[in-house]
Amino acid sequence: MSAATGNCTAEGGVSRGNLRYSAERGQREVFCGLTGIIWLHRKIQDAFFLVVGSRTCAHLMQSAAGVMIFAEPRFATAIIDERDLAGLADANVELDRVVTQLLERRPDIKLLFLVGSCPSEVIKLDLSRAALRLSSRFSPQVRVLNYSGSGIETTFTQGEDACLASLVPGLPRLGEEAAPNLLIVGALADVVEDQMRRLFDEMGIADVQFFPPRRSTLLPAVGARTRYLLAQPFLADTARALEELGARRIAATFPLGAEGTASWLKAAAEAWAVDPSLYRRVTQPAYERAQRALSRYRDLLAGKRIFFFPDSQLEVPLARFLSAEMGMELVEVGTPYLHRAHLSADLDLLPPGTRVVEGQHVENQLDRCHAAKPDLVVCGLGLANPLEAQGLTTKWSIELVFTPIQGFNQAADLAELFARPLVRRTRLVA
């Protein structure tokens, strides 16, 4: 029998580069990639996400969105029913009908993603062919692309990776003679983008584009002289696709906290051969302001022990920020996947001996968590209240994905997210 559940534990992992790595398999308590739609549809404002899936997928979307603010959001589910499965209806014909119906209702849509799910993959519904077919039918008004957000292929934030990767082949190309341009890859809040853009501008890096863009008509161009900087740590496939077009990655830490942001910006400045004194002049005021703001939280967080359940793949850079900049102690850093190359700068800054666990066996992990009695647990929504009820203090990880946390001006907001549950616990006497 395969090492299906629990045969492989986090104990006895390997030490490499001073960290203790291990991998485990068992029940994973993580969202699937469909969830990325919740922030992506707010980011790309003329895009619509049509999940081709089951009632479960539709229910996941509405439950994870938590609050349904938008009477008609720019996502929906085409629910496969028994007629499609029994072959009574041709699923492709049905899909075309649903898409036509949708586009009639929503003439504002310029880009439609057909998002694959576990059921559509298991029945081998070919969404890439469907996307081609529908694209040629509705072009030039609407482009139709596809990617998979299924739970058998993708975990939570990997949905964004799959979505962005599907956009890459359609990016405008730059010729050999084009000037170098800088691409910031990974969805950021608009306010964060604007701050970053101002800093790059002041450093004289003018040709900066953000991917994904706010509108599908503003796709960045890529060529052999394109350098890209990852703003998010979960973009393995997108990075690979960009490299295929000749773009090259600028290695850096992720822009979390004052130090993380500074070295992220510095990596770009060096790649653009920005004069170091100019770099300092531009970033110093914001850096110092961030440090001042962070210092208010340092006393609260320093020395506190934190335990990460795997969730968004942001765990390693968050752990770096919390240990290196805030003085927290890392009990365990769980992450669904560990992309060693993209994370190397952050991994290098973790304290020696840090336990990094890839994958999940939720029951064993809960046992370890209870045994370690950390001061703060970072976990998903399914686990938070049960852990609180058992006396632990938790921070829901999903908030770290929905809140603007990157960049100098958000550094203290990020620290505050971790401080708040601790402060709350000390305030409540009854």
């Binding site: 699937c32 499609d84 209240n385």
Partner: protein, 535 residues
């Protein structure tokens, strides 16, 4: 394939989770991919349960599909048994696992666990959450109680003189709308009727308790959506009668008490006397005259929708202009009820169809689910929640039943409150011109609308009402909407109408203009339309 934006019900395995989570000493092993674990948060976040649902998910991945997903299932079941030591195990598949056909039942039986293993067949591509809950409850009751069944044709002997009657309470689940409090309210009434409560199920019951269901004299079925299959089977198997009345509202509560009194031969006096419900007096008080004829739209699960319509019409003096349900299984009951109000029932699980209906009927109050709350918000109509699906604020910290006389009081307060707030808004117009009282200022009960944060910020931080729903004022001096043009003076006159009815006045006028082929809406058209639509 059906295009779906929001759904009233989850998939059937979520219904099964509502049964497992309601019970004690049960564990559910669900063959499902990792994303399906989202369902845990329904219980831990929305219902705010302090414990995880008793569910193990196999979380198979694509790379397992070619290999041994069956082995994965067996490992998960074995580990769950060892770790949680349940008295009984439920096993089944979610939508994806249903397609790979691993036969969880057979696999679990092959493990030869020393406890009952109940195999759930919940067709995900046909059925939905409430059906899944009802079926799961039925399957586990049969598994536990059938071994105790008397021979076929069993006739329940009359109760020995001098002994108290006993009953089971059937139907309350996890994630139900006020189920916890309803059970308490019903228990109080039963105590006043000298009836003992034998077993409450599934909420709080263990598999061992289910085995004792047949010992009670009769059954009280609170939620037919989840409990009627079980009530029927218990009726057939143990010759137990089921109380048909569902005590939501004053009238229905009286009937419920009378029905039990008659069945058990007890005096209903004490239970009825505990009935000086405030809601009845409040409804008669002069303050409530403004409620007369308020046009209400009712939508929810069948049980709550039918009960709400009756209360609205008979106990509050409203006019029921719309009634519907998303439970197709109970369409007949709702159609029957709608006839009482001279309307046709709306049977649909399409949120957009419900929204269109509300927009068309222009009710003054919407009684619905969380979905209708959104519809009402968008259309600017007051709303109260009467049925699942509900959100976190519909699990109040205080005791807040829907059933019994106290439930009637709770209902009076929650339905009338949003209408009272409408009255408060009159004050705003009386003080119009005062610097603090202007159209753009939100009514006090809506709180301060937070400045919109960034697009990707936490959804919770966004203002709840989309901007377009709030502003009905066009910027151009002469504006065209749906055909007719508004003359400048008519537009100005419209501005004098209190803002909370202005949207309705605009819509009515435009409809009137369209019906009468009026191309330019003048002040006269506005008042013609007002006269035309006034009741």
């Amino acid at each position: 394939m059906q295009l779906t934006v929001w759904t009233y019900e989850g998939p059937p395995h979520v219904g099964a989770m509502r049964i497992a989570t309601a019970m004690t000493d049960v564990h559910y092993v669900l063959h499902a991919p990792q994303g399906d674990t989202y369902a845990d948060l329904l219980f831990t976040m929305i219902e705010r349960l302090p414990r995880r649902p008793p569910v193990t998910y196999t979380t198979f991945q694509a790379r397992d599909l070619g290999g041994d997903t069956a082995g994965l299932f067996q490992n998960a079941a074995r580990e769950a048994f060892e770790r949680f030591k349940p008295q009984a195990m439920l096993v089944g598949a979610s939508c994806t696992a249903e397609l790979i056909q691993d036969d969880p039942g057979g696999l679990a039986r092959a493990l030869r666990l020393p406890i009952p293993v109940v195999q759930l067949e919940l067709p995900s591509y046909q059925k939905k959450e409430n059906w899944g809950a009802a079926e799961t409850f039925y399957q586990i009751v049969r598994a536990m109680a059938a071994p105790q069944a008397p021979p076929p044709g069993f006739k329940r002997p009359p109760r020995a003189p001098g002994t108290r009657a006993s009953c089971n309470i059937l139907g309350p689940t996890a994630l139900g709308f006020r189920h916890r409090d309803d059970v308490q309210a019903v228990k109080l009434m039963l105590a006043d009727l000298d009836v003992d409560v034998h077993v409450v199920a599934p909420l709080g019951a263990s598999p061992g308790d289910l085995a004792r269901l047949g010992e009670a004299d009769f059954n009280v079925l609170l939620y037919p959506e989840t409990g009627s299959l079980v009530a029927q089977w218990l009726g057939r198997t143990f010759d137990q009668k089921t109380i048909k009345s569902i005590p939501i509202g004053l009238g229905a509560t009286r009937e419920f008490i009378a029905e039990i009194a008659q069945l058990t031969g007890v005096d209903p006096g004490r239970a009825l006397h505990g009935a000086p419900s405030n809601s009845s007096w409040y409804s008669h008080s002069v303050d409530s005259t403004y409620l007369t004829g308020k046009r209400v739209f009712v939508f929810g699960d069948a049980t709550h929708a039918v009960a709400a319509a009756r209360i609205a019409a008979q106990e509050l003096g409203f006019t029921v202009v719309g009634l519907g349900t998303y439970s197709r299984e109970f369409a007949r009951e709702v159609r029957e009820a709608a006839k009482l109000y001279g309307i046709e029932a709306l049977i649909t699980d399409d949120y957009l169809a419900v929204e269109a209906k509300v927009a068309e009927l222009q009710p003054e109050l919407v009684l619905g689910t969380q979905m209708e709350r959104h519809i009402a918000k968008r259309l600017g109509v007051p709303c109260a929640v009467i049925s699942a699906p509900v959100h976190v604020q519909d699990f109040p910290a205080r005791y807040s039943p829907q059933m019994g006389f106290e439930g009637a009081n709770v209902i009076f307060d929650t339905w009338v409150h949003p209408l009272m707030m409408g009255l408060e808004e009159h004050l705003l117009t009386m003080f119009r011109g005062d610097f603090e009282f202007h159209d753009a200022a939100p009514a006090s009960h809506l709180g301060f609308t937070a400045a919109p944060r960034d697009q990707t910020a936490a959804p919770a931080a966004q203002p709840a009402v989309p901007a377009e729903a709030v502003s009905d004022r066009p910027s151009a001096p002469v504006s065209a909407t749906a055909g007719a043009l508004w003359a400048v003076d008519a537009e100005k006159e419209l501005g004098k109408i209190p803002f909370f009815v202005r949207g309705k006045a605009r819509r009515n006028t435009e409809r009137f203009a369209a019906d009468n082929a009026v191309a330019l809406i003048t002040v006269e058209t506005l008042y013609d339309a007002k006269a035309h639509f006034s009741r």
